[in-house]
């Protein structure tokens, strides 16, 4: 294990990875008067520099090295600022950096001719900087700074088209459920996302500070090195609550149940933003946080952290199911993708939670992170392709598309490739292998309810395949819709988007297949890296947790010598075997869901509307289309009723009480200020009098 400390050599690039985009963001406004091209190229250049810096430390990460460099920050509180580039952070950082580059290049064409490009590029760069800060920082406090940064960038970019033109809305106009409108303007969506994220952030902040109160540090490494804080917190039954509160931040950021409602409205932003922030990177920050702190809490397994991991598992499972069901009925392409994003992140959470409930932590951990990687690739690709389609047909509804296969050949092919990965077509797609790994880890865990989790996972997989094929079918197959015909009648032929636009998503789609072909070997490699990483940094091996060398960890087992052997021997035992049952169920899920989707939407043997024309299906459809009424409940409980209550409070408390008190405070201050001014006569005689009186008073005070 290579370790680089401090600023020297390669250590500086770990700092620069997240600083470069911030510098770029500060630089962009200077180009205010330059042409659009220069603005875009400069922004792309900054993202490429950051990505190259990330690439420069990739070999270190793959060889299980790490960079840990710290400088004093708040010396009064003994808090250091630092970067911690361990294999987890390095891989994530590269993923974020290179997907950003692809999406930045795509943006050049997608945002062509838009107003306020400066604002767009500023926030995009600001976003990457904050995201890399989350990934690379070595303590929870800096993570939180990045956390707020991405939240802010997300808010600003969701509401990018702040003039609220009707065409930038999401949802069908006039669609209400329980009296709450289900269609939203960009500004409204931005605020909604910001507020729901705040709910998570408040939880995270309180969890962080609870731990800080007992440990006196935010650092990941410091928390692991001296575990007495965990012991004290356990005695007061605060350890699991604190961990769950931190997870609350992840719930908010990753749009998991019950804070899932913001992600769908977030689709009001430009599609490039949806691709970068609301599919490939920012929503993964929650998963990354769990991956960051999960091993820490697992290493504390002496204190029985099972409840924490159970909560993670079930939040993931419920979200996966909840959002997959809704994706089936939604008519908007971006919203289907958004639902699917939330649902797939549910899978990742599920895997990370299950990891903590198994003896073999690394399996589930690898599966969760593997799915993160594969999802980032294919979902970014899908979003960008969807953006290309939106760009062409000027509508977000899938029944305004249809039959685009003919005219948008390239988009069709790459969209299909990425879709196959989402639907997890067997053996050749990255999505298949990562989902299979999750299935296997669920099956192999010794969690008592793992069979239920598995059932949910398979159900979701069936639905995923179904809605993926539905989407592909509605967009590319069948007859061209009225809208498409209208566009063509007006003389605008539907044709392929330009090269700058299709190349980025083509590359990502091909990558998800190319890695998919060698998916199993890829997974094995990842498994190996994480097994070594977890063993060397956290002492987590296949045989449970062993104390690290030189750490003051509370010892769980007395057989230290035996465990030491496990560390050294651990890396050889981490080979991966296929779980046949997982593979079979994965293939079956694809088969069932995919076949149904194929029949109804591609082959079109029957009109889905006619098939579902009965009372039960209609009620079900309505229930799903109204988002399980969760959004309505959220608005009633979170907005309408509190506002009504607040109006009361305002009327009686604010209007009568406070408006009685406030002016008197103000008046008394003003009167006192007048007195102070009146003393200031401007006459030197007065001044001299006060001066001499002062000397006498002070001397008397001293002598008393």
């Amino acid at each position: 294990m290579v370790e680089v400390l401090g600023f020297e050599g390669i250590g500086i690039s770990a700092w620069l990875i997240w600083m470069t985009p911030f510098i770029g963001a500060a630089f962009i406004p200077i180009l205010r008067k330059r042409s659009e091209k220069i603005k875009s190229y400069v922004a792309v250049a900054f993202s490429i520099i950051s990505a190259l810096l990330a690439l420069s430390i990739l070999p270190l990460g793959l060889s299980n090295g790490e960079i840990h460099s710290q400088i004093p920050w708040f010396s009064a509180l003994n808090i250091d600022a630092g970067v911690l580039a361990d294999p987890l952070a390095i891989i994530m950082s590269n993923l974020v950096a290179w997907i950003s580059v692809a999406i930045f290049v795509y943006s050049i064409s997608y945002m062509h001719g838009q107003r306020s490009l400066i604002r767009y590029w500023f926030f995009m760069l600001f976003f990457i900087g904050s995201m890399q800060l989350i990934v690379l920082s070595d303590n929870l406090l800096m993570v939180f700074f990045g956390w707020e940064g991405v939240g802010f960038a997300s808010y600003a970019l969701i509401g990018f088209w702040y003039t609220d033109r009707k065409k930038d809305y999401v949802g069908k106009e006039g669609h209400t459920a329980w009296g709450i409108p289900q269609w939203t303007s960009p500004t409204h969506a931005g605020i909604k996302a910001f507020l729901l994220n705040r709910a998570g952030d408040v939880m995270m902040l309180s969890g962080m500070f609870m731990i800080f109160m007992y440990s006196g540090t935010f650092g990941f490494r410091e928390l692991l090195a001296d575990q007495t804080w965990a012991h004290v917190m356990m005695q007061q039954n605060l350890l699991v609550p604190a961990a769950v509160l931190i997870f609350g931040g992840a719930i908010g950021k990753s749009a998991q149940f019950p804070l899932n409602e913001w992600l769908l409205e977030a689709m009001t932003g430009p599609t490039s933003v949806s691709a970068l922030i609301h599919a490939a990177t920012m929503v993964k920050a929650g998963v990354f946080l769990v991956a960051r702190i999960g091993p820490l809490f697992f290493a504390l397994s002496v204190f029985n952290m099972n409840q924490f991991f159970e909560i993670v598992t079930w939040v993931g499972a419920i979200t996966a199911l909840l959002l997959a069901t809704q994706a089936i009925v939604n008519p908007e392409i971006k919203k289907v993708l958004a639902y699917s994003t939330g649902s797939q992140i549910g899978y990742m959470m599920m895997a990370l939670g299950i990891a903590g409930l198994s003896t073999n932590f690394v399996d589930g951990y690898t599966a969760g992170f593997f799915h993160l990687i594969s999802h980032a690739l294919f979902k970014a690709s899908l979003f960008m392709a969807a953006g290309a389609i939106l760009h062409t047909v000027h509508s977000r509804f899938m029944n305004d598309m249809g039959g685009l296969k003919k005219n948008m050949r390239k988009t069709y092919i790459f969209f299909l490739l990425a879709s196959l990965s989402l639907a997890s077509a067997p053996l050749i797609t990255l999505g298949f292998w990562s989902k299979d790994a999750i299935f296997a880890s669920i099956l192999e865990s010794n969690y008592e309810f793992s069979s239920y989790v598995f059932l949910i996972a398979v159900t979701v997989a069936i639905m995923t395949a179904f809605y993926t094929f539905r989407m592909v079918g509605l967009v590319f197959f069948g007859k061209p819709s009225q809208n498409v015909v209208n566009i063509e009648n007006k003389g605008h032929r539907i044709r392929e988007v330009d090269k700058i636009m299709w190349l980025p998503f083509a590359i990502l789609a091909i990558a998800s297949i190319a890695f998919g072909v060698v998916g199993f070997a890829f997974e094995g490699q990842l498994h190996h890296i994480f097994a070594t990483y977890l063993a060397s940094s956290f002492g987590i091996t296949e045989d449970g947790v062993v104390p690290l060398e030189g750490s003051e960890a509370l010892q769980s087992s007395p057989e230290l010598t035996e465990s030491d052997a496990a560390i050294t021997g651990g890396s050889e035992q981490d080979s991966l075997e296929l779980n046949p049952f997982a593979v079979v169920s994965s293939v079956a899920a694809f088969g069932v869901g995919g076949f149904l989707g194929y029949l109804f939407y591609i082959k079109r043997i029957a009109d889905p509307e006619k098939v579902s024309d009965n009372v039960v299906s209609k009620a079900l459809w309505k229930f799903l289309y109204n988002r399980w009424y969760l959004n309505s409940i959220l608005y009633w409980m979170g907005v309408v009723i509190p506002l009504a209550a607040y109006r009361r409070i305002y009327k009686y408390f604010e209007n009568i009480l406070m408006y009685g008190i406030n002016p008197s405070v103000q008046h008394s201050m003003v009167v006192m200020s007048r007195v102070a001014k009146a003393v200031q006569t401007g006459n030197v005689q007065t001044y001299l009098y006060v001066f001499s009186a002062g000397i006498i008073l002070i001397t008397m005070l001293l002598l008393s």
């Binding site: 708040f74 010396s75 200020s673 001014k677 200031q680 001044y687 000397i695 001397t699 002598l703």
Partner: protein, 499 residues
């Protein structure tokens, strides 16, 4: 006796020679008054060189003492002096650079820059003095040029009034300082500061009242420059009447020199006499903060608001001095705040100077809609005001945070410590009443004139520097605090107060 290569000597030589050179150059020049830019650039160069010398000496590896009191000479080469010199030099640089624009349409440039440099030498020497006589000489060297500078708009009666008031009280306070020094000399028989500390701590109990009288006179004499209540009366009139750049020098520079002298003499020197004297400082601190803030609350003119606010700020800094014997970082915090305040207050005054040049007015009404009319000036002004109010994460926050923290800490030994913190926090809240009011005027109201103005370049440059300082040292205040801690002779304070 004085090492020619010690920092204070080098700095004196650099600044002094330039200060004398400028009037000579002007005399040789036939065309009078057209060389503003040249003189400004020369003075800037000299000050920057001096700053480099000071900073280099701190980090050059020579082990400088925190405060060289045992020195038998009149000037010590120590980090305490260096710390204050950095503050003074930064202020002087900001003043000279902004004068590039401010003095453009005025006369007598040579004298102006020369006087600023001479005053800077005085301030720096105060920071380094280890002897009462040297201190007095430096004090006068600092003060006398500023009397002339305050009256620099010689046809403006307000400027003259400002100068006369300033001069009267300056003369009075100098006399009081000399009197206090005389008493100390009479009691101890030495003019060296350290020797008199030692002698004071072994003073005959019958003579202690005389020692305390000397302390009281020192507080009055130095308190005049610091703007402590009740020695502050001249201050609002002078700061608002003097040319705004000169007011900057007074508020951010000479005021800090008062603190340097106060720490050297009163705090360090007189702990020896009786530790309980600090209660007096605490009471002065509370009155100073409150009166400053109350006075500022209903003013209409921006320089006057800033003048009162600088009285209030002196109160905050004084808290750190008052709790110095009881807290480990009271003085560190005060020094940090002194450095921060030097930059924040300079930024605010210089922004006001920019407005005066461009809009020819200093009343609050003129600031309506400034956010649009002069965007950079208004933005930095707003940030400086927020920093003065102590809003995190700006640099002013950390100074206040540490000062109040030290006051609360000191509650373990003295009952009144936490009350100082409470008074300070309430005053900070009160001060937002006028700081936020100005920001509101600038950004949320529109004046009659909505034309965007060209902002004076050199002032913009100074303001951007200050902006960077306030934000960078707000997020990462570590280096500043480390430097401040290096300058505080903690062991000395403990040693003396233990006696």
């Amino acid at each position: 006796m004085i090492d020619i290569f010690s920092t204070p000597a080098l700095v004196t030589i650099i600044l002094g020679s330039v200060a004398l050179l400028i009037p000579i150059l002007d005399a040789l020049n036939k065309e009078r008054g057209a060389k503003n830019k040249v003189y400004s650039a020369i003075s800037f160069g000299a000050l920057a060189l001096a700053l480099i010398v000071v900073i280099y000496r701190i980090f050059s590896g020579e082990n400088l003492p925190a405060m060289s009191l045992t020195n038998t000479g009149v000037i010590g080469d120590d980090i305490f002096g260096a710390f204050f010199s950095i503050a003074f030099l930064i202020v002087s640089i900001m003043v000279t650079v902004s004068s590039w624009s401010y003095m453009k349409k005025r006369s007598n440039h040579a004298a102006y820059y020369s006087l600023i440099l001479l005053s800077s030498i005085g301030m720096i020497l105060i920071g380094y003095s280890t002897d009462f006589v040297m201190l007095l000489v430096a004090w006068e060297l600092m003060s006398i040029p500023t009397y002339a500078l305050a009256a620099f708009n010689k046809k403006d009666p307000i400027s003259n009034e400002a100068s006369i008031k300033y001069f009267l009280f300056g003369a009075l306070s100098s006399a009081i300082i000399v009197l206090a020094m005389g008493i100390v000399y009479g009691l101890t028989g030495t003019t060296n500061i350290y020797d008199s500390i030692v002698a004071m701590s072994q003073l005959n109990p019958d003579l202690i009242p005389f020692g305390l009288l000397a302390v009281g006179l020192f507080i009055a004499g130095f308190g005049f420059k610091m703007g402590l209540v009740p020695f502050h009366m001249w201050l609002p009139d002078t700061y608002s009447g003097a040319p705004t750049t000169v007011a900057t020098l007074l508020a951010a520079g000479t005021k800090k020199a008062g603190f340097a002298a106060a720490i050297r003499v009163i705090v360090i020197g007189m702990i020896a006499l009786n530790v309980h004297w600090t209660f007096t400082l605490a009471i002065i601190a509370i009155f100073t903060m409150t009166l400053g803030n109350l006075g500022a609350l209903t003013q209409k003119s921006i320089p006057r608001i800033l003048a009162y606010s600088s009285i209030a700020q002196a109160g905050y800094i004084l808290i750190g001095l008052a709790v110095a014997p009881y807290s480990d970082y009271g003085l560190d915090a005060s020094l940090l705040q002194i450095m921060n305040h030097a930059v924040m207050k300079s930024a605010a005054f210089i922004a006001a100077a920019g407005v005066i040049i461009t809009l020819a007015g200093y009343t609050l009404e003129k600031y309506k809609g400034l956010g649009f009319r002069m965007p950079i000036t208004a933005f930095v002004f707003a940030i400086a005001l927020l920093a003065l109010a102590g809003v995190p994460p700006l640099s002013g926050f950390w100074g206040k945070y540490l000062i109040f923290g030290a006051a609360i800490d000191s509650g373990q030994t003295i009952w009144w410590g936490p009350y100082l913190a409470i008074a300070g926090i309430l005053n900070s809240a009160l001060s937002l009443g006028y700081y936020a009011w100005i920001i509101r005027k600038m950004y949320m109201e529109e004046g009659e004139n909505r034309v965007r103005q060209k902002e004076p370049k050199s002032i913009v440059a100074v303001l951007l520097f200050a902006l960077g300082f306030m934000i960078i040292f707000g997020i990462w205040y570590g280096p500043l605090l480390d430097l401040a801690s290096m300058a505080v002779p903690n062991d000395l304070i403990h040693l003396i107060s233990a006696k």
